[in-house]
C-alpha cells in the first residue's frame, strides 16, 4: 500500500483521464507536467528544509542551538527568510550586463530540475526512465558552471569575476574525477540506466566493491557543489561571496537555494551509484522503497554538512593539483583495476 502510494495515485490519474476520454498525447503531456511539478515541489521543499538543516547542524557542531524562534523549533525560519528576500528590491549594478545578470538566477534551477526528472525515487518512481541516465546527469550537471560563470561575469565586480573564474577552473577540473569514478560502477553494471544500476546492487552495494571510486566521487561531489573544503567559488573570507556578491533579494535566494538543490542532487547520485538507491538494507522491506531512498540521501547530506563545518578551505592551486595529480590518476587506476577484475572473475 505505502510502497506504491505515488505510483498508484498516478495510475488512478491516468485512468481518470482515460475515463474522460482525453486524447492520448494530451493525457501523456499532462501526466508529464504533473510529474515535473511534483519534482519541482520536491526540490523547493527540500532546499528550504536543507537550509534549515544546515543551520541546525552547524549550530549543533558549534555548540549553539540554531534557529528556534520562528515556528516550532524554528522550522519556519527559512520560509520566512525567503519571504523576506522576495520582498526585497533587486539591485542591479549600473555597470552590470543587465540581461545576463537577471537571466543567471532564473537559469540556475534548470540543471537540477532537469536532472531530478530521471532520478528513481523509489521502485518504478522515476519521472522519466532514461536509458542514458548517468550520461545525462553528467551532461546536465556541468551546465551549472556556465550559469554561475554568467552571474560572475555579468556582475561587473572584481570579486565576482574572480569567483566566476574559479568556478570554471574548479568545475572543469572536478568533472573529470567525478565522471571517471562513475565509470568503475558502469563497468560493473554495463548499463547507464539508473534503475539498472540500483538493481545491480541487489546483493552488495557498490561502496564495498568500489570503495576508491566512492571516495573519489564524494570528494569530487563536494567540489561540484562548491562546499567547504572546496567552497572557493563563494570563498566568504577571501572574495566576499564570489559570483553572488552583487545579487540581492530573490536573485540571491535563487542561488542560495540552488546550492542546496545541488547538494541534494549529488547525494541522490551517490545513493544511486554506491549505496543501493531505493533498495532496503538487510532486507528491511517493511518500509517503502522511497523512504529508504530519502533516508540514505539525507545521511549523505548530513555527511556533506558535517564535512563542511569541520574543514577549512583549500587554496586554488592546491585544488587543481589535488584534482589532476591525485584524484584523476587514482580514478583511472580504479577503472583499470575494475576492468581487470571483471575480466578475471566474471568472464
Amino acid at each position: 500500500m505505502l510502497e506504491n502510494i505515488f505510483v498508484s495515485s498516478l495510475n488512478w490519474l491516468k485512468n481518470l483521464m482515460a475515463a474522460v476520454e482525453l486524447p492520448a498525447p494530451l493525457a501523456d503531456m499532462l501526466i508529464l507536467v504533473i510529474k515535473l511539478a511534483a519534482i519541482l515541489g520536491f526540490i523547493l521543499i527540500n532546499a528550504l528544509w536543507l537550509v534549515y538543516m544546515e543551520r541546525k547542524v552547524s549550530a549543533f557542531i558549534q555548540g549553539r542551538i540554531g534557529p528556534n524562534r520562528v515556528g516550532p523549533f524554528g522550522l519556519l525560519q527559512t520560509t520566512m527568510d525567503v519571504l523576506k528576500l522576495i520582498s526585497k528590491e533587486i539591485i542591479i549594478p549600473a555597470a552590470a550586463d543587465k540581461k545576463l545578470f537577471l537571466l543567471a538566477p532564473l537559469m540556475i534551477f534548470v540543471p537540477p530540475l532537469a536532472i531530478f526528472a530521471i532520478v528513481p525515487f523509489g521502485k518504478g518512481m522515476a519521472a522519466i526512465d532514461l536509458n542514458l541516465g548517468v550520461y545525462y546527469f553528467v551532461a546536465m550537471a556541468s551546465l551549472s558552471t556556465v550559469i554561475i560563470w554568467m552571474a560572475g561575469w555579468s556582475s561587473n565586480n572584481k570579486y565576482a569575476l574572480l569567483g566566476g573564474m574559479r568556478v570554471v577552473a574548479q568545475m572543469v577540473s572536478y568533472e573529470m574525477p567525478l565522471i571517471l569514478s562513475m565509470i568503475g560502477v558502469i563497468i560493473l553494471t554495463g548499463t547507464l540506466n539508473m534503475n539498472g544500476i540500483i538493481q545491480a546492487q541487489e546483493k552488495v552495494w557498490f561502496i564495498f566493491l568500489q570503495p576508491v571510486a566512492a571516495t573519489i566521487y564524494l570528494i569530487a561531489a563536494l567540489a561540484e557543489t562548491n562546499r567547504t573544503p572546496f567552497d572557493l567559488v563563494e570563498g566568504e573570507s577571501e572574495i566576499i561571496s564570489g559570483p553572488f556578491t552583487e545579487y540581492s533579494g530573490m536573485g540571491f535566494a535563487f542561488f542560495f537555494l540552488a546550492e542546496y538543490a545541488n547538494v541534494l542532487l549529488v547525494s541522490v547520485m551517490a545513493t544511486t551509484l554506491f549505496f543501493g538507491g531505493w533498495l532496503a538494507p538487510f532486507g528491511w522491506t517493511f518500509l517503502p522503497s522511497w523512504f529508504w531512498f530519502i533516508f540514505k540521501v539525507y545521511i549523505m547530506v548530513f555527511i556533506f554538512m558535517w564535512v563542511r563545518w569541520t574543514f577549512p578551505r583549500i587554496r586554488v592551486d592546491q585544488l587543481m593539483g589535488f584534482a589532476w595529480k591525485v584524484l584523476v590518476p587514482l580514478a583511472i587506476a580504479n577503472i583499470f583495476l575494475t576492468g581487470l577484475g571483471k575480466y578475471l572473475f566474471l568472464s
Binding site: Q62, L232, E238, T310, F311, P312, R315, D317
Partner: protein
C-alpha cells in the same frame, strides 16, 4: 585574435570579512597572484595620542583600552607602568600579582581571537566559535574583576582599581583546568588538520633577519626563530618569579605564527597557575597623591603585549596632564613587511598572512 592580458587592481577592504576590521589593502593582481600590495591603514584613526594630551593622567587609562581592545588589560598595564616609572611609584606586591594574572588572561583571550580568526579566515568557521566559547569565560572573569568585559580600565597608576572579588580565584582555577582540554580540541580541529597545514605551512615566510630589521616583535618575531620576549630578556613587574618558557618556532611561516600562539597560551596558563597559588595578601594600591602630577621629564617603558612590544612614551611638563603621549603599537609595526610578504602569493594567502600577523585595527590606527 590576440589575447590581451592585463593586471587588475582589487581593492580589498576597508569593508571585507577578513581584514580584521577596517583595514584596506589595494592589491594588484595577475589572475589570482598578487603582484603588488599597498596597505592603507587609518580608517579607525581616532587620535588617541592627541586626546590624551587633554586628559589627566588617570583619564588616559580608559583610552588605552581602545588601543588593542582584545587585550585591554595589557594596554592599561603598559600605560600605567610608564606613569609609575615617571613618578617613581612602588607598586604593592599583591597588585603586581593581580596584574600578572589578569594580564596573562588577557593574553590568552587575545591569542584565542587570533587562533579562531585564523581558522575562520581559512574557511573553518567552527574553530572560531570554539575559541570564542572559551574566550567568553575569560571575559566573564574580567567582568567579575572590573565590571567590563572588553574595555577593562582596571589598572590604576600605583596599582589596580579594586582587589580581586570573592570567588575569583576558584573560578579562574576551574577555567584553567578546562582550558587545557580546550587547547587539545583546537589542536585536533585546527592545528592537526591537513588542509589547514597545507594552507599555512611555507606560506608568507618571514626570515629572522628581516623581522629584526623591521623591528617586528611578539609572536611574529618569535615564529621566525628570534627568542625575544620582554618577559624573559628584560623582565618587568614580577615575571622573574615565575617559571615559564618562551616558545620558539623557526620557519617563520603562517603555520608557525599560528602555532606559536597556541603554545604561548599553554605557557600563560602555567604563569597564571603559579600566580594564583602564591597570591600574597596586602594592599592593591600604592600611596599616591590625590592629583597625579609627575615631575617634568620624559619616560619610555615597554611591556610584552599579546601582539608584541607595547611601548609607551610620555613627556611630562609637570602639569596634571601629559604634554605628549606616544604608543608604540606592535600591530602597526608588525604590518611593516606586509606588502613584501604577500607579494607573489594568491589572494587566499593574503587573508592567511594577514590573519597570522594578528592585527587589531584599534591598535594599528590608534
Amino acid at each position: 585574435m590576440a589575447v590581451r592580458q592585463e593586471e587588475f587592481v582589487l581593492n580589498m577592504g576597508p569593508q571585507h570579512p577578513s581584514t580584521h576590521g577596517v583595514f584596506r589593502i589595494v592589491l594588484t593582481l595577475d589572475g589570482e597572484t598578487v603582484v603588488k600590495a599597498d596597505p592603507v591603514p587609518g580608517y579607525l584613526h581616532r587620535g588617541i595620542e592627541k586626546l590624551a594630551e587633554a586628559r589627566t593622567y588617570t583619564q588616559v587609562i580608559p583610552y588605552t583600552d581602545r588601543l588593542d581592545y582584545l587585550a585591554s588589560m595589557l594596554m592599561n598595564w603598559g600605560y600605567v607602568q610608564a606613569v609609575e616609572k615617571l613618578m617613581g611609584i612602588e607598586v604593592p606586591l599583591r597588585a603586581e600579582y593581580i596584574r600578572v594574572i589578569v594580564g596573562e588572561l588577557a593574553r590568552i583571550a587575545s591569542h584565542l581571537v587570533a587562533t579562531g580568526a585564523m581558522a575562520s579566515d581559512l574557511g573553518g568557521l567552527t574553530g572560531f566559535l570554539y575559541t570564542f566559547r572559551d574566550r567568553e569565560e575569560i571575559l566573564d572573569l574580567f567582568e567579575m574583576v572590573c565590571g567590563s568585559r572588553l574595555t577593562a580600565s582596571y589598572m590604576r597608576i600605583g596599582g589596580v582599581a579594586k582587589d580581586l572579588p570573592e570567588g575569583f580565584v576558584p573560578k579562574a582555577k576551574e577555567f584553567l583546568k578546562k582550558f587545557t582540554l580546550s587547547l587539545a580540541e583546537y589542536n585536533g580541529l585546527i592545528t592537526g588538520n591537513e588542509i589547514f597545514q597545507r594552507r599555512t605551512k611555507n606560506v608568507g615566510i618571514l626570515s629572522a633577519e628581516k623581522a629584526v630589521d623591521m623591528s617586528l616583535s611578539g609572536p611574529v618575531l618569535r615564529a621566525s626563530g628570534v627568542g625575544h620576549d620582554l618577559r624573559k630578556v628584560r623582565p618587568y613587574s614580577i615575571y622573574p618569579q615565575f617559571e615559564f618558557e618562551v616558545p620558539l618556532r623557526t620557519n617563520g611561516d603562517c603555520f608557525d605564527r599560528y602555532y606559536l600562539r597556541v603554545l604561548e597560551m599553554a605557557e600563560s596558563v602555567k604563569i597564571i597557575e603559579q600566580a594564583l597559588a602564591s597570591l600574597p595578601e596586602g594592599p592593591v594600591m600604592a600611596k599616591i597623591p590625590r592629583i597625579i602630577k609627575p615631575p617634568a621629564g620624559e619616560v619610555y617603558t615597554e611591556i610584552e603585549s599579546s601582539k608584541g612590544i607595547m611601548g609607551v612614551y610620555i613627556v611630562s611638563d609637570g602639569s596634571p596632564k601629559p604634554y605628549r603621549v606616544h604608543f608604540r603599537r606592535p600591530s602597526f609595526i608588525n604590518l611593516g613587511y606586509l606588502a613584501e610578504m604577500v607579494r607573489g602569493w594568491k589572494v587566499a594567502d593574503v587573508v592567511a598572512i594577514l590573519g597570522s600577523l594578528d592585527i587589531v585595527l584599534g591598535e594599528v590606527d590608534c
